[in-house]
Symmetry: C2
């Protein structure tokens, strides 16, 4: 199988590694505007050969794993080029815009809208990790719009790298993911900003920060080039979640100001049940 990966970073590179390991007779072709990334991917063995966009005419499978503002554009070009039995899927963290963009494309049935819920805070081909998707969830949207044979091929591929499938409507996906993923990134970035602004002396952060700060601020290492277009495409739901988060913080602040410490205690105790929910996530891994 000839797999073309467009955008050979953390997600595209990790998929390339896993498919090469878990499927038979796979050759991975890397396509990337960043020539340095492409060369690194080749040196690291993440891809077998370099290619260009127009080469996707030879593909059995095309993975579009570029920032979400670019992927809507690239996807149209890919669908213009591919053969009738080529599977094309994306991996973006927003699903409504891309589904809208290609809904009337004559090769819409070649496309599967996917969002593998996996990643790290790092980026680029060096960040590609074998086994990243094992036990994780892959959200698939508008599955009925993909040709049945290509659905089957995709499910087989995802299954072989250990992913569980969940089907969702693109709007529902974008709304839920705003809360469970996008908001976490904003909370982490702004926590990092608040601490950096205050602590002019980085030695103080270094000495005083424990594993708790490290954990909550980890996502503030994430790539702005990846996240800015996500926030742009999912603006309404991100704003909704951010407003509710700020309201909850402001309410907590008011409780502290009023010395309502019993209510402060209750707020925390009521949220403690996140333990059980997170245990579920850990088991999932």
């Amino acid at each position: 199988m000839k797999i073309y990966v467009i955008g050979i970073g953390l997600i595209g590179g990790s998929l390339a590694k896993d498919f090469k390991k878990q499927l038979d007779n796979v050759t991975v072709f890397g396509v990337d505007l960043n020539e340095a990334h492409l060369n690194t991917a080749l040196e690291l063995g993440v891809v077998d050969q370099k290619a260009t966009l127009k080469d996707v005419v030879h593909a059995d499978c095309v993975i579009v794993s570029v920032p979400v503002d670019v992927s809507a554009v690239i996807l149209e070009q890919v669908l213009d080029l591919v053969k009738g039995d080529t599977l094309v899927f994306d991996v973006g963290s927003t699903k409504y815009t891309i589904c809208e963009k290609v809904k009337n494309h004559s090769n819409r049935r070649n496309f599967l809208a996917a969002h593998p819920i996996a990643g790290t805070e790092f980026s680029g081909p060096e960040a590609a990790l074998e086994g990243l998707f094992d036990g994780k969830t892959n959200i698939i949207c508008e599955v009925e719009k993909t040709a049945f044979k290509l659905q089957e091929r995709a499910l087989d591929m995802f299954n072989k790298i250990g992913m569980r499938i969940r089907y969702m409507d693109p709007v529902a996906h974008d709304k839920h993911i705003a809360y469970v993923s996008h908001l976490s990134h904003i909370s982490s970035f702004m926590l990092g900003k608040t601490v950096i602004e205050k602590e002019q002396n980085e030695r103080d952060i270094f000495d005083l920060a424990g594993s708790g700060f490290e954990s909550t601020v980890r996502l503030a290492k994430s790539s702005p080039a990846m996240w800015t277009p996500i926030f742009k495409q999912n603006k309404q739901f991100v704003l909704e979640s951010l407003k509710e988060y700020i309201d909850n913080l402001s309410n907590f602040k008011a409780l502290l100001e009023d010395d309502s410490f019993e209510k402060v205690y209750d707020e925390m105790q009521n949220t403690n049940r996140i333990k059980e929910i997170l245990n579920g996530i850990s088991i999932k891994k």
Copy 2:
């Protein structure tokens, strides 16, 4: 050496384990109002014997590791009882209140105000971890108010379990730690609250949450019984940090609303240097 640990939870228990391992001839006596905790600690070998508060008269060292509202009260009782050469230290996440409370005590020189920057989101004697303090920072306040011989003994003990020492004024400690630790807990608790409120169906959180959400919300598992008194004692600095955090979030929200995505990008990029700061923390471990 007879070490009495008052409050045999995560921190007291972990110190007990490490001191037993790293120092010669140590017997650890556990004191805890929670009889079940005390029995568990004994069964797990975290402590060697059970004891009561009045027994600290026999102690060479007393560790006060209870919630910060209780520790100021307990500490006075301990200082009333101990011998002239007994080292007493606390481990609380606030330092101004406890230093003020005992500043005129006739045995003030037996006391060392300490804050080992280490922990997990779990609590109770089962949470006690060997090696928890290795490579971590211990903040010591008002060291000049502790008898020199007892300073020496304390430093030797902390050194043997791998801790680095940093000296700070109690007010500076409380201010810095509000930003680098206390604020992280609030941001995490309120993130957990926002998501739980929205996602009535926990299955959705389970399926959609990745390691990013898990990391940012981890501290929302923490004990309300421990954290409520910390927020109460450090109210002014916690409020200050929380106000700045809310302001930063509100500013980010305004940038999104105005479609100022270049500035959104800049906000994230400027915060990315947390990477290097966190690398420092990781190296420290």
